[in-house]
């Protein structure tokens, strides 16, 4: 388990991280979310010892030392590899730096290229690959040595839905093999689909921390999705409804002032008759993100 306690980092007069504490347990995927400049990359750089920081970062109870580097898989935010090398040379070189001998890695390369549907031969130069394929090779490099701690900075950025699914599958597979995984993302749908836990940073502070359901439930089930013949104006007249949003056709999202009043709204709306959809839910992660980031809900 990765444990971060009271992490602080200041660049000149700018406070990048302020008393950040959270855990990344084994066998779980933790999503680190936050706006640009909220401190996500600084957190990753601190874990990787690229920076000197105040506070405590421990891996399995011990400070992270050079010997632990071999069990870390790191995917940086922007993609970059060594353009003059072939796919095979690149994978082997970086795997050897993780103390994996070439003879152990070489036979696995074809399998990984197939798994990520990389278009090209392993003898192709990195510079000759498309951007998407370079990204996949970088993911292979991050995972091929079977790390116990996986740090992924914006792993889904630039991936189309098909490739994003391949990545999700690989992340879930690594989790099932016992790895502790932390990744940052702006795409809340991906976070919700993959993560067990969530940490949100805002200007260096932790504003959310817990499992996905814990985080969502903190906000109460203040949203009701309904599919009905009622008009928007009629819905606005319902008790406790403070906002009505037409999603599509006759599907609406109602916001209520008190989650406990859901049954009352249901009674009024259905009047004991059939209704196609009535679903009371907490806000989505996307809405929570916008709320917490201080951006007005559209």
């Amino acid at each position: 388990m990765l444990s971060i306690k009271h992490l602080r980092k200041q660049f000149g007069s700018v406070k990048a991280l302020d008393d950040v504490s959270f855990d990344v347990p084994d066998n779980q995927i933790t999503g680190l979310i936050g706006q640009n400049g909220s401190g996500k990359s600084t957190t990753f750089h601190s874990i990787l010892n690229f920076l000197k920081y105040d506070g405590e970062i421990r891996w399995n109870g011990q400070p992270i030392k050079e010997a632990d580097f071999d069990s870390i898989g790191y995917l940086p935010e922007e993609r970059s590899l060594m353009p003059k090398l072939t796919i095979e040379q690149q994978i082997i070189y970086l795997a050897r730096l993780k103390s994996k001998p070439a003879k152990e890695i070489r036979p696995q390369i074809d399998g990984w290229l197939e798994k990520f549907a990389v278009k090209g031969k392993k003898t192709d130069k990195i510079k000759d690959l498309s951007k998407g394929n370079q990204q996949k090779v970088q993911l292979i490099v991050t995972l091929i040595h079977h790390p116990r701690l996986i740090i992924l900075d914006e792993p889904f950025s630039g991936l189309d839905p098909v490739n994003a699914d391949l990545l999700k599958k690989a992340i879930l597979e690594a989790r099932d093999q016992g790895a502790a995984i932390i990744f940052s993302s702006h795409d809340m749908a991906n976070v919700e689909a993959v993560c067990d836990r969530l940490v949100m940073l805002r200007t260096g502070d932790v504003v959310l921390n817990g499992t996905i359901s814990e985080v969502r439930d903190q906000f109460g089930k203040s949203e009701i999705y309904v599919t009905t013949d009622w008009t928007e104006d009629q819905l606005k007249q319902l008790p406790h409804v403070i906002k009505v949003q037409n999603i599509r056709g006759n599907r609406f999202l109602l916001q209520i002032d008190d989650p406990s009043k859901g049954p009352e709204v249901f009674e009024k709306l259905t009047d004991g008759k059939y209704i196609e959809e009535f679903s009371q839910q907490p806000p989505t992660l996307d809405e929570i993100f916008r709320m917490k980031a201080g951006i007005q809900h559209e």
Binding site: L51, K52, S80, L97
Partner: protein, 407 residues
């Protein structure tokens, strides 16, 4: 394998497998081969035109001349008619008709041009020697008289060791050495600085630094470049020796080298040994400083100008040696022969001029090696900060930010 060595191997193989390195190493040999080839071809193609034929009714006399002047005679032409035809066709310079009776040896040269001075001397020497033998035979001298007539005058040359060839050897050694250091430095300063600068701020460096310590990576990188430099020096030494052996088969060059044997030996002696070590260590310390300046560029795109600080420093050292070439014992020269970055130029200069003691050489080497060690250690410590930060600000701000990145 140790991660430092993995980085060193990767750097080394990446460099030596590149076309630029192959061309860098091979170009002097290609140029040498071309010039030797041209020399050889022109020598062989023009040789017939410069040679003469020898015709004689006395085969023994003709054979003796050919044996004494093999390179100058086209032996396949045996008759005056054939020789005249070759001369007319411009395939021969001329032909010599030799004849001898009991009292006199005669040589008549036929050509449209006058004889070259060298050839005339050779023909005269042959005729004089043959005539002498004939005279001795005709005089019917006793063996004692023959012996006494055979006594030759004695001529000896005594040249003091510190003058002449030895001085010339020093001057040649000095220029060859400083140019060698300068050229190797310029090449590897650029190669190293660009190699490091091209990695500046790239995310692959973050992946690498999440696998090994930046200091180990830096040392590996430098070791890789040392390997490349060493490879080039070894190729030059082995290739140079090979070319020397080939050149020794060419009569003109063999003659030139034999005539200047002591000069050649002096230059080779000055080039090898401790001076070569100074060259190698000099290149290393400049390589390290180039790597440092490479790490200080604002971004990877600025790689081409990354080597400038190291190149300027080596230019200063290079031009500073000029005034001291014939005055290497001057105080400034003595001081600079201990100062890293300058000692690689100044100490070999003092060694060539025989004014540095073993202790002084040892001390200079020790300072140089210690500086290399300290510099490598220090840059290794700050390397991560220098490489990972990518502020596009002024040089000094970048340096300060890089130094404080880890604080």
């Amino acid at each position: 394998m140790n991660k430092t060595l993995i980085v060193a191997m990767e750097t080394y193989l990446g460099q030596v497998k590149s076309w630029s390195f192959i061309m860098l190493v091979l170009s002097p040999f290609i140029l040498l081969a071309i010039s030797l080839g041209i020399g050889y071809t022109s020598a062989t193609s023009s040789s017939d035109q410069q040679r003469i034929a020898v015709v004689s009714e006395q085969p023994a006399l003709r054979q003796r001349f050919i044996k004494a002047n093999r390179d100058d005679v086209k032996a396949s032409v045996t008759s005056a008619a054939a020789a005249q035809k070759s001369v007319d066709n411009n395939n021969l310079s001329g032909y010599l008709v030799l004849s001898a009776d009991k009292a006199k040896v005669t040589g008549v040269y036929h050509s449209s041009d006058s004889l070259s001075g060298g050839m005339k001397v050779k023909i005269n020497a042959f005729l004089a020697q043959t005539q002498q033998q004939l005279n001795l035979a005709n005089a019917q001298l006793s063996s004692k008289q023959v012996k006494s007539l055979a006594v030759q005058p004695a001529f000896q040359e005594k040249i003091k060791a510190s003058h002449g060839g030895a001085n010339l050897a020093k001057i040649i050694s000095f220029w060859v050495l400083v140019f060698m250091i300068y050229m190797v430095l310029i090449t590897y300063s650029s190669v190293t600085a660009q190699e490091i600068a091209s990695e500046k701020g790239t995310k692959v460096m973050e992946i690498i630094f999440s696998s090994t310590k930046a200091s180990k990576y830096f040392v590996g990188k430098i070791l890789g470049v040392f390997g490349v430099i060493l490879t080039q020096i070894v190729v030059y030494i082995v290739g140079g020796y090979g070319f020397f052996q080939i050149a020794m088969h060419l009569d003109n060059i063999k003659q030139l080298i034999t005539d200047n044997q002591s000069l050649v030996n002096g230059v080779i002696k000055n080039m090898l040994g401790i001076n070569l070590l100074f060259v190698f260590l000099g290149v290393i310390i400049y390589t390290i400083i180039s790597a440092f300046s490479g790490a200080l560029v604002a971004k990877a795109e600025d790689a081409p100008k990354a080597a400038q600080p190291a190149i300027y420093l080596s230019m200063i050292a290079f031009f500073l040696t000029m005034p001291f070439q014939s005055n290497s014992d001057a105080l400034i020269s003595r001081i600079l022969s201990y100062v890293p970055f300058f000692s690689s130029y100044f100490m070999p200069m003092r060694i060539i001029n025989d004014n540095a003691s073993g202790m002084e050489i040892g001390l200079s080497l020790l300072i140089l090696v210690a500086s290399i060690g300290l510099l490598t250690w220090y840059i290794g410590q700050i390397y991560e900060g220098l490489i990972l930060q990518t502020d596009d600000t002024s040089f000094w701000k970048r340096l300060r930010r890089g130094l404080s990145y880890q604080k």
